[in-house]
Structure formats: structure tokens, C-alpha cells
């Protein structure tokens, strides 16, 4: 009996210790999310004595107007492109950081990698605008170096959006891949070499499979926010910068149709979760 009391006492203590964390989670995630879910199901915001009723109208709007689906697909494609570019650029960087460089130089390079985290994202995006626009830094620089005239004006193109997003999200892949690569025992690579394996074999059969969890984590960290991104498309994309995320933003800040914005957000959430759910068993199999 005494034992039982001790255990339930310990459990009570545990609950007491954990409760602030759970309360915080509830407040920070579930409350806003429930509020949004509620907004997405009403005709009007129930503020200032407005008339309101429950409705599915906001969700139906998505299916009745093909533009939304088109834009959602455009955003998913943007997410995939940015993710793939980040993986292709970030993984080699992480590999060099983790396996080729030692000591002080590594710390210095690491600081440079996380430098974008330290600056305000708006500042970052506007800096890219200055670089990429016609007669901008890139244009002037190239023309100063090259013997012939070139006209690079990447501003207000999809390329500009991709460049801006890749720059913002690259550190995630580098960090997650770095951690995964760091955990690979150098003896494994030595062992593979002793069995006659060259660099491509080691990369393909050993290093990539073993760092897959890091790559996946990085990909998810990038894909999810990029699909809903609105700042980079708006500032760097100009007229071509209409994406699913910008449409949602418009509903909240310009058109002031919160119920529609909330419904569109939930559809985005559902689609992203669906994509992750479909991708995860495939990745598990690839790793085995």
C-alpha cells in the first residue's frame, strides 16, 4: 500500500512539474488554432455586434474558384523547388563543415552559416531586392567585370523569389545535415575505405543513408513554411508574386475577409499534413 501511495505521489509531482509546459502549449497553439477554426466556420466575425452564423461557405469557396487550387499547386511547387535547391546546396556545405574542416575555421564558418538568423527577414529581403533589380548591385557588378554588356534584371521573377527563399531557409538544412553528419563515426568511413570503396560509393551507400534523418528534418523545416510564404513572393516577385500565401495574407490584411482566410489556411494545413504523411513511409523504407 505504501508503495502505491509513493508512486501516485510521484505521479502527482510529475503532473505538477509538467503542467506549466502543457498550459503554455495549450495557450500558444491550441487556443489560436481553435479560434481560427471557429473563424473559418462563420459568416462574419462575431465582433462589434455583427450578425453571424455557422457555415461551410468559406470552404466551398476554395472548391468553387479554381484559382485557389492553381495557386496552392504553384505554392507547393515553389516549396518543392526551394527545398530541393536548399538540399543540393546545403548538404555539401554541411559535409565540408562536418568532415573536411577542423578546429577554429569550422567555428568561424559555422557562425557565417547562421548569420542570416541574426538579421531581420525584411531587411534581408530588401537587400536582395537591391542586389537583383535592373541596374542593381548584381547588374553593375557583372557589367564591370564582363567585357560585353549584359542585362540582368532578376527582380520580379520567380528566380528572385527562389533566391530569396533559399537564402532565408538554407541554414536549416545546413544545421540539420551537419548534426546528422557529425554523428557518423569516422571509423565507418575508414572501414568502407579499407574494403576498397571509393568516395562515390561511400557517399551513396553510407553517408547519405546515415544522414537521411537530418535531410528529412531540414526538408520539412523548409517545405512547410515556404508553401505558405508571402513576404518573399510579394517583395521579390511583384506581379508574378501571387501565391497561395499572399492570397491568405490579403484576406486578413487587405480584403478583411477573415473567415475565408482562415478556411484557406486550414486547407493549406491539411494539404501539407497530407504530403508529409504520404512522404514519411517512403522515407522510412528508403532508410531501411
Amino acid at each position: 500500500m505504501a508503495g502505491g501511495t509513493a508512486i501516485s505521489g510521484a505521479r502527482a509531482g510529475l503532473i505538477a512539474l509538467l503542467s506549466p509546459a502543457y498550459l503554455w502549449l495549450t495557450a500558444a497553439i491550441f487556443l489560436p488554432l481553435s479560434a481560427m477554426l471557429f473563424f473559418s466556420l462563420v459568416t462574419e466575425l462575431p465582433f462589434g455586434g455583427a450578425e453571424w452564423a455557422f457555415t461551410l461557405e468559406n470552404y466551398r469557396a476554395f472548391f468553387e474558384t479554381p484559382t485557389y487550387a492553381t495557386l496552392l499547386w504553384k505554392s507547393v511547387r515553389l516549396g518543392l523547388i526551394v527545398t530541393v535547391v536548399c538540399l543540393l546546396v546545403g548538404f555539401p556545405c554541411a559535409y565540408v563543415l562536418a568532415k573536411a574542416i577542423r578546429g577554429r575555421a569550422r567555428e568561424a564558418l559555422f557562425l557565417l552559416v547562421i548569420l542570416p538568423f541574426w538579421s531581420n527577414s525584411l531587411v534581408r529581403i530588401f537587400s536582395w531586392a537591391i542586389v537583383l533589380r535592373g541596374n542593381g548591385v548584381l547588374d553593375l557588378g557583372l557589367n564591370a567585370l564582363l567585357p560585353f554588356e549584359v542585362d540582368v534584371s532578376l527582380m520580379f521573377t520567380t528566380h528572385a523569389i527562389v533566391i530569396g527563399l533559399v537564402h532565408s531557409y538554407l541554414p536549416y538544412v545546413i544545421l540539420t545535415s551537419y548534426l546528422a553528419l557529425q554523428a557518423i563515426d569516422d571509423n565507418l568511413i575508414d572501414a568502407a575505405r579499407s574494403m576498397g570503396a571509393g568516395k562515390p560509393t561511400i557517399l551513396w551507400r553510407l553517408v547519405l543513408p546515415l544522414s537521411l534523418p537530418g535531410l528529412v528534418a531540414g526538408a520539412v523545416l523548409i517545405f512547410v513554411p515556404v508553401v505558405g510564404a508571402f513576404m518573399e513572393p510579394r517583395i521579390l516577385g511583384g506581379r508574378v508574386g501571387t501565391y497561395y500565401g499572399t492570397v491568405i495574407e490579403d484576406q486578413f490584411v487587405a480584403v478583411y475577409n477573415w473567415p475565408l482566410g482562415a478556411a484557406l489556411s486550414f486547407i493549406l494545413l491539411a494539404v501539407v499534413l497530407f504530403i508529409l504523411a504520404v512522404a514519411s513511409p517512403m522515407l522510412k523504407r528508403a532508410q531501411a
Binding site: 563515426d185 571509423n187 565507418l188 575508414d190 572501414a191 568502407a192 575505405r193 579499407s194 574494403m195 576498397g196 570503396a197 571509393g198 560509393t201 551507400r205 553510407l206 543513408p209 546515415l210 532508410q287 531501411a288
Partner: protein, 342 residues
Amino acid sequence: MARVSVEGIVKRYGTVAALDEVSLDFEDGGLFALLGPSGSGKTTLLRAIAGFVFPDRGRIRIGDQPVERVPVEKRDIGMMFQNYALFPNMSVADNVGFGLRVRKVGAAEERRRVGEALELVQLEGFGGRKPHELSGGQRQRVALARAIVTNPRVLLLDEPLSALDKALRVDMQFELRRIQREIGITTILVTHDQEEALTLSDRIGILRDGRLVQAGPPREVYNAPADLFAATFLGEANILPGGGAGIVVPEGVAPGAVLAVRPEAIAMTRTEPEGAGLSKCVGVLERRVFAGAMATCLVRREDGGEMKVVSRDQDIPAGLTEGDRLWLSWPVDKTLAIPPEG
């Protein structure tokens, strides 16, 4: 299989000479143990033979081929690592078959040879498991199978058994010896454990500060150490005073040589032992430590020097207790004459 030789190799890290003019021959099909204190260059020598590090100077041959500038991948060696280094993402069969697949031997051939190798290490039927589903001893065997499955010219082992507990280690020593004899592969083993070196190998080499102190068959090195370091590193040695009353200097000993005797060569008696060809001295028993079948006694000689004696419990005179006076004796031909340093 091949004979391996290193000739005058030097490897420096900054000001530290990890290897300093080391020359050694490893016979075809033999098992050679490299011994030495920590930091003496054992791993560096092994990795130089493997091809992970290139020596600054000197020559390395595997068979008839000079390999100083050949990278590991091209050297056709098998290596076993201290922590096994099994690939965690692959099954046991894929681990063992890795080297075969790199050599593109074909699926059927790969399956056959992986099966053979697993049988050799007594792990038939374990091919489908992942490394984390194996015990320490089983991982060890997989690592060994993986190292020999490609029929490499030389097998290199860096402290292969140090992660195992004592009982398992002794089992694996026999196992390793059996397999090594069975396939007749030239094997070089680095170890901290002198007992392991003595029981396993055909020849041993003792390294100190990057230099080779002595090499030869274990019995020879044990019975005729090249210097004081070799005498005390491999087993223990009681240093004798330069000729006392009963201590006989063996014939033909170079002037300046240090005399010593191994603890297990000494007999203890209450009375003065009779007989020709014996060295002897008197001492007082200071301490007696019982350790299973053997007992260790510390005896203070009359001239103040300390002698360690290891003998079977029943060979110690009955009723001998600490503080008793006794005689120590040993055959003159068991006296080690250690050449002076330098």
C-alpha cells in the same frame, strides 16, 4: 596472402615523431602482435601499413608491391576496428558483402562468399539481422568476417578485443587464432594486453616512443629482452645487484649488463638450498598476496632491494608468514642478462 615489410619509416606530427625509423618484417601467414605503451606509435604503424597515413620517409611493401603512395582503397587489406565500425544502416549480410559488392563479384558469388564467411565465424543464419540486434561478441565476429571475406593480402587489427569482457576476450582470442590459421592470412595485431600478445602471436614487436625496441618470437623476447624497457614491459623482472654473495653471474655476460630474474623463476625455502647451478640470496618476507592458484610475495633482500616472487600456493613453505627470514633461489641459466642501454 603476402609478406609485409616496412623499412625505415618515419612519421612526424609536428615535433612528435610517431614513428622513428621503424623497420619490421611480417612473415607470410604469421600472426604478429605490436605491443607498446600508450602513444608509442602502434596505431600509426598499423594505419601506415593500411594506407590511412602516408609515412614521411621509408618504404612499405605488401607482397612485392611498394605501397607507400597507394591509398587504402587500392591496397587490398582487411581491417578490423576497435569499436567494430559495423554499418548501422545495413544488415549483417550487407555489411559482410560490402567489400564484395565494391569489387562487383556478382550477386550469386556474393551470397556464397558471405555465407562462407559467416560460417567461418560461426554466425550462420544471422545474415538478416541489423548490427544493433547483436551482442558484443557477435558484432566482433561480423567485423572479422567482413574484414576477411574479400581474401585480403593482410589482416590488420587495432585492439580488436579490448571492448570485450575478460571471459569473452579469451574465447575470441582462440577463435581469432583458429580462423587465422585456417585461412593462413598474414595478420598484424595491435594490443595493450601483453598476455594476449604472448598467447596469440608467432612474433611480437615492442614499440616505445615511435621506435622499435625488439622484435622476435614471444618466448625469445621474454627470455632475452633487448633492454631494461623490454624486460619490464613484457612481464616483470627483479633487478639484481651487480653480483652479491650467492648471486652467480652467468658466463659470457657483457660488462655493464644488468642482471634480472623473472618472479616465477624464483623458489622460496626456509633453509639454504643445496645444488649446483643455483643463484641464491636471503631476505625477509614483507607481504604475501593470495590470488587464486598463484600467490605473489614481496621479499626484502638483505641489501635493501625488493624481490617479487610468483609461485603456486602449495610450493610456498608451510606456515611462512610475513616477517619470516627465507632463502630465494633460481637456476643460474634463468638469470636475464640485459644489455646496457645505448
